[in-house]
Amino acid sequence: MSAILIFLAGLASIIIWWMAQQRLTSKPWLESARASDIFPITRSSIPTVKIGLGVFLAVVGALFTLFISAYFMRMGLQDWWAIPLPGVLWVNTAALVVSSVALEMAKSSAQQNDAYAMKIALLASFVTAIGFLAGQLFAWRELVSEGYVLADNPANSFFYLITGMHGLHILGGLLVLSRTTFNVWQGEPPKEARLSIELCAMYWHFMLIVWLVIFALFAGWANDFVDICRQLLT
């Protein structure tokens, strides 16, 4: 459970940092105001949907960290055989990186009011994301055909479970991204599309990071990292 505790500690430090700015030591019983007094702004200037997405990503982060926690705990037991990673995963990773970069480009071209570049970048991101999902399905098929089926070994089970969960999240993001892309191709001006592109980009970068972490996990690099940490601690 150490992975989730570390994650929560990180989250806690963000919360503490935020709370430190909220005047939690003020004495509200002394601070009644007159109608003419100046009022502090009580809300953040960050758009509300963005904060909503941020909170949601914290929840998604906790979800994947818990899967990873379970992975580490289960891995310690005897019947574990690591699963060989299909080479196509590298291509998929590249596709997801391209998709994320394209969204970042769409975002900056929306900020610069460049409608054409924004359209192209969005489409590129959409297509590569679909490519990623197709690639993941291909990787599953390859593993199955080599005999690494779901219930054979916990490593296999975790691979299908976590990649599946990640894929579902990408699929959900694709629904939103397809709507944004559709709207933009219908002629929505960059100014109006900007916020939704920013949200897509934020979500996409996050899912990319999640993918890189679980990829490292399945490739075994994470184990080396954990071993090093353990040695440092003991």
């Binding site: 019983w29 009644s32 007159r34 003419s36 809300r43 909503g52 019947d79 779901l150």
Partner: protein
């Protein structure tokens, strides 16, 4: 930057905080059924939660009947008994308490108390309810499928939860239970995002965090915790569903069942326990923190006194929330663990007593020399404090490893968690319903029926659960279908069981009186007016009662003070609403 009003005569336009675009329903369906108005969603959540809670109440009757009169009710066989236990526990903890506190009170009170028009994401809020309803229906479907609902206990420990020896283990029961939990969590996340972000972004002008009523602090912190803790249950449920349906071995060790070797092997039941309790312990405080918050407000309003130690109360809520994530393994002492871990978790568990005790002292000090009105909400609030202290004290016993190990599987634990997590929050729920019913409906609940309801419920609950501590110390094991006559179940203990059952039936019957009261008062209750309790918070300052769509009419309120200005010396009345400014000529020297 803020537009600073240039002269004293300029009223501060509330609209300076840009108003939300409010969804306006066009038909009967979108007004009352598929509504995006948080108040309607709150009522939908509450009615659904209370309905399913009544099912759980009846299940507890059936269990008690079996314990008191074994063999008399032949339709309660061992399988059914376990199914009743499981469904009773799961429904009460998740589908009633969590849903009612956060989905019910959260939806109703957050926008109103903060001076917002609605939640920030009304559409997701609506979806949240409908997914919750679906989760409840899937759960209830368990009663109607072959094999019945799961009988694995509300903790659903594998491997027994998915084996054929457990009711529903190899039938539909466990599948429906896990699916229902997964749905509940998805639905809750949608609602939870709303509650958190509305508190962050939806507050009225002048409503700083430290001016929020403690009710909102409690609900807010509990929601943050729930958002982070429920994923653990989600992960555990998905993995167990894989084990059950797809034959994986996340949790399932190698098992020979009825002479056949199952295909599972190597899995770790302890892993499930870690995941489950990583959710399960915060869950206790997900229920308790809103109760803490609400009870603080009830006490302050009905004792006509500001809450004692507001800042401490806020900090204690936050600290309890944080600590509750590092105590989960105290539910697993009997599962076996490294003694150092046991020591760690016992220590963190006992540390939680510190902020909790601060809260109890502050409630008592709020009452001290207050102008206590023994209204029904106040009675329930007082009932809560007593019950919570009782349940908390037995928690100190169980938090210690050496005391917990012999007591863990006895009725003592049942008594403990029912006091602290059953009776105590229910007291607050009733207090809150009596307190806010006039705002929701415009009419008061009947006083006489309310008093009977309170006294029967409060005394009855004690008569049920106090003797149970004794049974536990005697060694009477929990979860047993039938004890027979034994060392741990001498005739005297059996008589006590009969007494407990009779009390349980009585307390249950008192709830029927409450339901009748709620229905009767809807039409015939005394007219409440806008602010019957003469309270300061914004929900009592709405232009009409019940509050209209959009809550506050044309202009949003502006908040000039904290929520607890009761009995302020020199003020014309004994309360000053949050949206009432200080007079302009008043010197500000008293302010620091």
């Amino acid at each position: 930057m803020v537009n600073i009003p240039s002269s004293i005569n300029d009223p501060i336009p509330a609209a300076e905080v840009e108003d939300v675009e409010l969804y306006h329903p066009h038909s009967w369906w979108t007004t009352y059924v598929f509504s995006q108005d948080a108040k309607v969603i709150a009522i939908q959540y509450s009615l659904t939660a209370i309905s399913i809670g009544l099912v759980a109440l009846v299940l507890s009757w059936l269990m008690r009947l079996q314990l008191a009169f074994p063999g008399v009710f032949t339709f309660i066989d061992a399988d059914r008994y376990y199914q009743f236990i499981t469904m009773h526990g799961m429904i009460m903890v998740i589908y009633l308490l969590t849903a009612l506190f956060l989905g019910g009170f959260g939806n109703y009170l957050i926008p109103l108390m903060l001076g917002a028009r609605d939640m920030v994401f009304p559409y997701a809020n609506m979806l949240s309810y409908w997914i919750y309803l679906l989760a409840v229906l899937v759960l209830v479907a368990g009663f109607f499928v072959p094999g019945g609902p799961t009988g694995a206990g509300w903790t659903l420990y594998p491997p027994q939860a998915v084996l054929s020896g457990t009711p529903g283990g190899q039938d539909w029961g466990i599948i429906l239970m896990l699916s229902s939990l997964i749905l509940f969590i998805i639905g809750f996340t949608m609602g939870g995002l709303n509650y958190v972000v509305t508190v962050l972004q939806g507050r009225a002008r002048g409503m700083t965090l430290m001016r929020m009523p403690l009710t909102i602090w409690g609900i807010f912190t509990a929601t943050v915790m729930a958002l982070l803790a429920f994923p653990a249950l989600f992960v555990a449920s998905v993995m167990m569903l894989f084990d059950r349906v797809l034959g994986t071995s996340f949790f399932m060790p190698a098992i020979v069942e009825m002479g056949t070797q199952l295909q599972h092997g190597g899995g770790s039941p302890i892993l499930f326990q870690h995941l489950f309790w990583f959710f399960g312990h915060p869950e206790v405080y997900i229920v308790a923190l809103p109760a803490f918050g609400i009870v603080s407000d009830l006490i302050s309003v009905h004792a006509r006194k500001n809450i004692f130690g507001y800042r401490m109360m806020v900090w204690a809520i936050v600290i309890i929330g944080a600590l509750s994530f590092v105590v989960w393994a105290h539910h697993m002492y009997v599962s076996g663990m490294n003694p150092n871990f046991g020591f760690f978790f016992a220590t963190t568990t006992l540390i939680i007593a510190v902020p909790t005790a601060i809260k109890v002292y502050n409630w008592v000090l709020t009452l001290w020399r207050g102008d206590i009105h023994l209204t029904i909400p106040m009675l329930f609030a007082l009932g809560f404090i007593v019950t919570f202290v009782n349940g908390g004290l037995t928690g100190l016993f169980l938090g210690n490893v050496v005391v917990d190990v012999p007591l863990s599987d006895t009725m003592f634990v049942v008594a403990h968690f029912h006091m602290v997590m059953g009776v105590a929050p229910i007291m607050v729920i009733f207090g809150a319903i009596y307190h806010w019913y006039p705002k929701i409906t415009g009419r008061m609940l009947d006083e006489t029926m309310g008093r009977i309801h309170f006294w029967v419920t409060f005394l009855g609950a004690y008569l049920i659960f106090f003797p149970m501590h004794y049974l536990g110390l005697l060694g009477a094991p929990r979860r047993y279908y039938e004890l027979g006559e034994s060392v741990v179940n001498p005739p005297s203990a059996h008589d006590l069981n009969i007494f407990i059952t009779l009390m349980a039936l009585t307390v249950g019957a008192a709830q029927v009186l409450f339901l009748f009261n709620a229905a009767w008062s809807l039409r015939r209750g005394k007219d409440a007016g806008g602010n019957p309790w003469r309270a300061t918070t914004l929900e009592w300052q709405t232009p009409t009662t019940p509050p209209p769509h959009g809550n506050f009419g044309k202009e949003l309120p502006v908040v000039y003070r904290w929520a607890y200005d009761y009995s302020v010396p020199g003020a014309p009345e004994d309360f000053i609403p949050q949206n009432e400014p200080d007079p302009e000529n008043r010197s500000r020297e008293h302010a620091s």
